[in-house]
């Protein structure tokens, strides 16, 4: 619950931050300046709408790059109005980002410092440059802090807190283990692939998680494909169960079920789902054949 609370505050902070450049925009000397300020306000406001406590929408690189470009443009167009914002580079560098983007941010920071330094006496320029470099390094060390954690953990973390939905990489690891277990236990296990519409995806993912038993894991393969590992005492009951699940899930585009013992690779299954023309046709054939 504490985490939800944090997201609310973060959203408030983003909205407040969006309000300030919007208030500054009317006092601009020319159109470019005003436009840039409005864009900055817009970026912050849209970010405030998008922020949520899950891995559903990892931040896209172009979206993350935009504030750096905006800051550079603002410092280049109106160096006499916003010199104070040069220090914001230390904060931008602090954000979790790929290594090449850190390098780009450092270059842009150097460029805008050089632009501002023109108007300063040389000793002040040198001193400010050294201080800025120190702050950038401090900021970078903060961002590197989280970087190794992020890459590895993303591949095994489930996608939203409280939802039993795992990423595709996890299915690759679970598949052989689950197959071995099912053989030992002597039960029927199958991998069910579901193709839903993009817009209904999260709704149906939630339905799938509530409809399956807690030991039957669910996975997100891509933006519109869900997978689940279902267990039943035998093939007949599995089919019965699948039909029930389908009825409860509501309309889906395609479904493919394969007994775990027959699966060669996950990629093959996904291709087969891609080729499949009927909604559920071949699944049954595979089942009995």
């Amino acid at each position: 619950m504490q985490s939800k609370y944090k997201v609310g505050l973060l959203r408030l902070n983003l909205l407040l931050a969006a309000l300030l450049p919007a208030l500054m925009a009317p006092a601009s000397a020319n159109l470019t300046e005003a436009l840039l300020l409005w864009m900055a306000a817009g970026w912050l406001a849209v970010s405030a709408v998008l922020v949520e406590f899950s891995h559903r929408r990892p931040p896209l690189v172009p979206w993350q790059l935009l504030p750096s470009l905006l800051l550079t443009a603002l410092l280049l167009t109106a160096p006499e109005r916003f010199p104070i914002w040069l220090w914001a580079w230390a904060a931008l560098v602090m954000l979790p980002q790929p290594a090449w983007m850190s390098v780009l941010n450092l270059l842009l920071a150097a460029l805008s410092w050089g632009w501002l330094a023109h108007a300063m006496p040389p000793e002040q320029a040198a001193f400010s440059g050294a201080v800025l470099a120190a702050l950038l390094l401090l900021g970078l060390s903060r961002s590197r802090d989280l970087a190794p954690l992020r890459g590895i953990a993303r591949r095994r973390a489930h996608l939203a807190p409280g939802l039993r939905l795992w990423p595709r990489a996890q299915l690759g690891r679970d598949l052989p283990r689950e197959r071995a277990r099912i053989r030992r236990d002597g039960v029927h296990g199958e991998l069910v692939l579901l193709r839903t519409g993009r817009r209904r995806f999260w709704h149906q993912a939630q339905r799938l998680c509530t409809l399956t038993r807690s030991f039957e894991h669910c996975y997100r393969l891509d933006g519109r494909t869900l997978a689940a590992l279902l267990l039943s005492p035998d093939a007949e009951q599995a089919e019965h169960r699948r039909a029930e699940l389908l009825a409860a899930l509501g309309p889906i585009q395609r479904l493919r079920a394969t007994p775990l013992s027959r699966i060669v690779s996950l990629a093959d299954e996904c291709r087969a789902l891609e080729r499949q023309t009927e909604a559920t046709g071949p699944a049954r054939e595979v089942d009995h054949g």
């Binding site: 973060l10 931050a17 104070i84 914001a88 390094l137 590197r144 954690l149 953990a153 030991f215």
Partner: protein, 308 residues
């Protein structure tokens, strides 16, 4: 390792800042600006002290951040009235420095309370546009540490693995144990859990540092991974308490695993702490027992183990 790098980088940066101040003082001397030599000359030894403190215990390390912050504040406060044309530029330094050195909460509070002070300090700084610019800098720069916090707590809420070792964390362990109980009930199987306690862990951390602690945890996780099957599940219930969930395992099977594990762990000798000591107890899911009740029984076993 990362922590150590961090410490060294920070200490190095503080020392470099001290050097920068010495250079500045020398510059003032060369151009004959004798009035302004005093401050950088006084602050340089202070920064050296901060660099040394950063290398010390965590408590003094935190103090060193405040020391650096005070130095930065004093420098900017002296600079602001002196040069009116560059004053708006230097005004941006204190809030960003605060955010870089302090945790988010105190930093934001300090920045917002100091806003009027900074704006009044300069001669011609009381200007709406500049005030707005300062506030947006405070707000926008504050978003960066906030995003880091957000990402970290998200990972904590969704990543099943513990931060220190290869066991799964407590919340994930409880979820998985619940689902394994359900599975065992459905398939009419047995379920056993080995409750493992590492009595040396606390002592290892206190006496030999985090490295020894990690080595002990790592050796437990590796040994368990070697002695158990692919679908057995090691989870961290408390700081030094672990549960090894053994699906479809009878009482004699669990006993066998326990003996094997005890032997293997006793053979593992670590540099600082010597042979790994463990206390192991096996518990079994009773027929018709609810997962909640089973979990309570396991927690009672953990308590007994910790006490002796």
């Amino acid at each position: 390792m990362a922590e150590l790098q961090h410490t060294r980088l920070h200490a190095g940066l503080y020392a470099l800042a001290a050097l920068l101040l010495v250079v500045q003082a020398a510059w003032f001397y060369l151009v004959g600006d004798y009035d302004r030599i005093l401050l950088p000359a006084l602050l340089a030894p202070l920064l050296i002290t901060a660099a040394l403190m950063r290398l010390g215990q965590p408590e003094t390390a935190r103090l060193s951040a405040y020391l650096v912050l005070v130095c930065g504040y004093l420098l900017v406060a002296m600079e602001l009235p002196a040069q009116s044309s560059l004053a708006p530029f230097w005004l941006g330094l204190p809030p960003v420095l605060t955010l870089l050195l302090l945790p988010l909460g105190p930093a934001m509070l300090l920045n917002l309370t100091l806003t009027p002070l900074w704006l009044l300090l300069g001669e011609n700084l009381l200007d709406l546009d500049l005030a707005l610019g300062y506030l947006s800098l405070v707000m926008v720069a504050g978003l960066a540490p906030w995003e880091i916090l957000h990402q970290r707590s998200l990972l904590q809420a969704t990543d099943p693995l513990d931060e220190e070792c290869d066991a799964i964390r407590r919340s994930a362990l409880h979820d998985r144990l619940h689902s394994e109980c359900e599975r065992a009930a459905l398939l009419h199987q047995r379920l056993a859990v080995l409750v493992i306690h590492l009595p040396q862990l606390e002592m290892a951390g206190e006496q030999f540092g985090p490295g020894a602690r990690r080595a002990l945890l790592g050796s437990l996780c590796d040994t368990v991974a070697r002695c158990s099957r692919d679908h057995d599940l090691l989870g961290r219930e408390g700081d030094a308490d672990f549960w090894l969930v053994l699906p479809d395992t009878s009482e004699s099977g669990a006993l066998l695993v326990r003996q094997r594990l005890e032997e293997a762990l006793h053979r593992a000798v670590l540099l600082d702490t010597g042979p790994v000591e463990t206390r192991l107890t096996d518990c079994h899911l009773r027929h018709g027992e609810s997962p909640g009740h089973f979990m309570q029984r396991l927690q009672a076993t953990v308590q007994r183990q910790v006490n002796g």
